[in-house]
Symmetry: C2
Subunit: 322 residues, 2 copies
């Protein structure tokens, strides 16, 4: 079947809108994409910094779609398997190797379609899946966030970080953030954060400990040498969920970690159960994803450049012209 899609034909290129032939699979449905959203994963693949890249590629792990008159969002975690603790060997993410949502249509198994939350616009719904899933698992399934605990979220502004902040605020927790941008900290506070710190300050950990005390749950996607500051603000029994490594090799003081009986928990994406639980939580608390900017699909290169620049606060959404 021929569809219009934003295709990356070879390494180093940005996606271009063109006709693309897809193999129709009998056990999947072909649905119309209304809107999709960018994730850092898309940027890594565009930069060629991802494992097992196969061209041509249609990116886009997030999608709000229409199918048989209904509107749905897609769980992008394909074939997670039956263990809650980790993904099985067949796990894949929608949008490379399978064709993703930066297209007129996308082919998925019906099992991955979930009803669009009615309190969200189609753009908001498109912004939710991958980031919301990752944040939910990091915060609840992995870190087991409890009522009354203090939460710290590093690098606020990215999609997952904002979802983690919104979820923890909705859960009734006191939430602190870090950023190198005063504007992003101010925006986070307007969304419910109790305070923010500049992670470029060498003594950030001392500022945190002095002003609000140690943290019970920390969510990070940077790693790098700055990771040690996060270990240094752990409370006894604290859990740090880490779902990214933009700053490279992470380091920490073993003494601080073991004396605090603290844990560093690697986490990526989430199980089918995590996805259902996340949707239920988002519906219960009427949470709306923060949208940075909406681009029409023929400006997808500009959308990717915006993410590359790192100035966004919230999700970058791609809207189809239907």
């Amino acid at each position: 079947m021929k569809i219009k899609a934003a295709v990356i034909n070879k390494e180093g290129e940005y996606p271009v809108l063109q006709d693309h032939e897809i193999d129709v699979k009998a056990d999947e449905v072909i649905v119309d994409v209304i809107a999709s959203a960018l994730n850092h994963r898309d940027l890594w693949i565009v930069k060629g910094q991802y494992g097992r890249i196969q061209y041509p590629i249609i990116l886009g792990s997030d999608g709000c779609v229409s199918h048989n008159g209904g509107q749905y969002l897609i769980n992008p975690g394909l074939n997670w398997g039956d263990r809650q603790a980790y993904q099985g060997g067949d796990f894949d993410i929608l949008g490379m190797p399978s064709e993703g949502c930066f297209a007129e249509k996308v082919q998925v198994s019906e099992a991955y379609l979930h009803e669009k939350p009615s309190h969200m616009s189609v753009e908001e719904a498109a912004a939710l899946p991958l980031g919301g899933l990752t944040a939910y698992r990091a915060l609840f399934s992995r870190a087991q966030l409890q009522k009354g605990e203090k939460v710290f979220i590093s690098g606020i502004g990215g999609g997952v970080a904002l979802f983690a902040m919104q979820f923890a605020v909705a859960n009734g927790n006191e939430v602190y953030v870090s950023s190198s941008s005063e504007e992003k900290i101010a925006e986070a506070i307007s969304l419910g954060a109790s305070g923010g710190y500049n992670y470029k300050d060498d003594d950030m950990h001392k500022q945190v400990l002095k002003s609000v005390g140690p943290m019970d749950v920390i969510i990070d996607s940077a790693g790098g040498p700055g990771f040690s500051k996060l270990v240094n603000i752990t409370a006894k029994g604290a859990r740090i969920s880490i779902y990214g490594g933009t700053r490279g090799e992470a380091s920490f003081s073993p003494q601080r970690l073991f004396w605090n009986q603290a844990s560093i928990l690697g986490t990526t994406m989430g199980s089918d159960q995590d996805f259902s639980d996340m949707l239920e939580f988002v519906n219960k608390h009427q949470i709306k994803p923060v949208i940075d900017k909406v681009y029409p699909i023929d400006e997808i290169k500009e959308a990717i450049l915006r993410m590359k620049e790192g100035a966004q606060f919230g999700k970058i959404v791609i809207k189809n012209k239907l």
Copy 2:
């Protein structure tokens, strides 16, 4: 009350046998020390590398004692508190600030006395408490070791590492070790380990992955740059318990950790529950601590020098002349 004890009178000195006055507390009992054992903690304190050192000091966190005609060992984790997840603010370790077991007598609350396992000699019983407690919590309470899982224990030869190895072997798990000494690896294999690797080999992680595959539970007390090799041999869902940091700041690849949904779990000592569970496990499996060498208490300096040298395989025991 005046007792004979191995006292450190000031910084930089080794313990010397001398008379020492102890304040008798109404809610504690004074028991006769039969044998005690060294822990790395004692060495750190002798070297002045420990927090809040107060002189004079009587070291010795491990003790096999006699009291009212019975023989007991002492749980050295004082005032842990009521949470299993972490120690409370009043937590202390027997032997600094409170007077420890390198003495003729020691004063403790009766609640910390546990019946000596009948399958052990007094020297073996003295070797068990702190190391056995730390290993048990690292392996079972923190890493939640399951049947059928593969275990890797770094730096075999130290007390805790050997206990962790013996416990995992007794539990029916396949256990691998690392050391820079071929002799220590051979001794570990004779005690039930399935194989060993030299951690000085830059490609140790590749050797492990190639020969026996990834590990489910890893026990480490080194940290340092070599810690990344341990993260690189994690299986999906693996847990690394870390209870020491002899090599300093630990580093790891966030990508490896999060893609494997692996966890790094700081752990130190253990709760009262951990201690009881450890004793029950040791009795059930008739485990005997590995003893490196027994020194009479008037040769305590030689005992400490042996630990400083790092050549020991098993616990260094101090025997009183009764």
